[in-house]
Symmetry: C2
Subunit: 106 residues, 2 copies
DNA sequence: TGCAAATATTCCTTGACAGGAATATTCCAT
DNA sequence: ATGGAATATTCCTGTCAAGGAATATTTGCA
């Protein structure tokens, strides 16, 4: 979890990650579309890769990077714990609205 | 999103955040339970607060910190985009298992 | 009013990390 | 085998942020 947050807590890296959501891409494509320099792209992809957020498939002298689902699933599980929280807030809001209505109707 | 990731990408801060999931706490309680020094706790809570992850309610010379749902809901929305991804993987896995079964049954 | 508790802020030092530039590596095509 | 893509790595430098220590601030209470 920490590693996931750390990896995504950097603007360029988050950008790359979100770009890859549209599908796997070789480094060059990332460089072109995001207008960053090739070495930085490689470095960021390395960090993402070490965090398990991304995987590489070699294709000749290219390397195709693709998102990995696992850490996102973990993030989803982590979030579950907090989902309860805002659902309760909704319930409370519902309650308030209900009482509002009642008050107005008399 | 970036701000959320940045705030949670630090061990102590993530710890504090997860501690607050059990309910609101004053700074002192955080200090005691996590064994960190008071100034650092205050600093981290400040960062969490500026990221909107936490809100403060004064109570005499105490300050009660509590989680805020909003950024987590945003995180949930952000995740939605990727949920499709792993659902497709499950579909593919289902397919594979189905074929396995068929193969074994003859 | 003055003290003590709870918390926030400031200042300093240090370590991690991102970007830049240059270079190394890998693999294809000729 | 050699040159040229595509990508990775290294080294350097500057910046930012975290921890430590000391101190300021706020509020309740005797």
């Amino acid at each position: 979890m920490l590693e996931t947050f750390r990896a995504l807590a950097e603007p360029s890296r988050l950008q790359i990650f979100e770009l890859l959501a549209d599908g796997p891409l070789p480094v060059g494509a990332v460089v072109d579309r995001l207008g960053m320099r090739q070495p930085q792209a490689s470095k960021h992809l390395r960090v993402l890769s070490e965090a398990g957020l991304v995987e590489v498939r070699p294709d000749a002298q290219r390397r195709i990077y693709a998102l990995r689902a696992e850490p996102l699933q973990e993030l989803d599980v982590w979030l579950r714990r907090y989902r309860r929280m805002w659902e309760e807030q909704f319930k409370r809001l519902d309650q308030v609205l209900r009482e509002e209505k009642k008050r107005r109707s008399r």
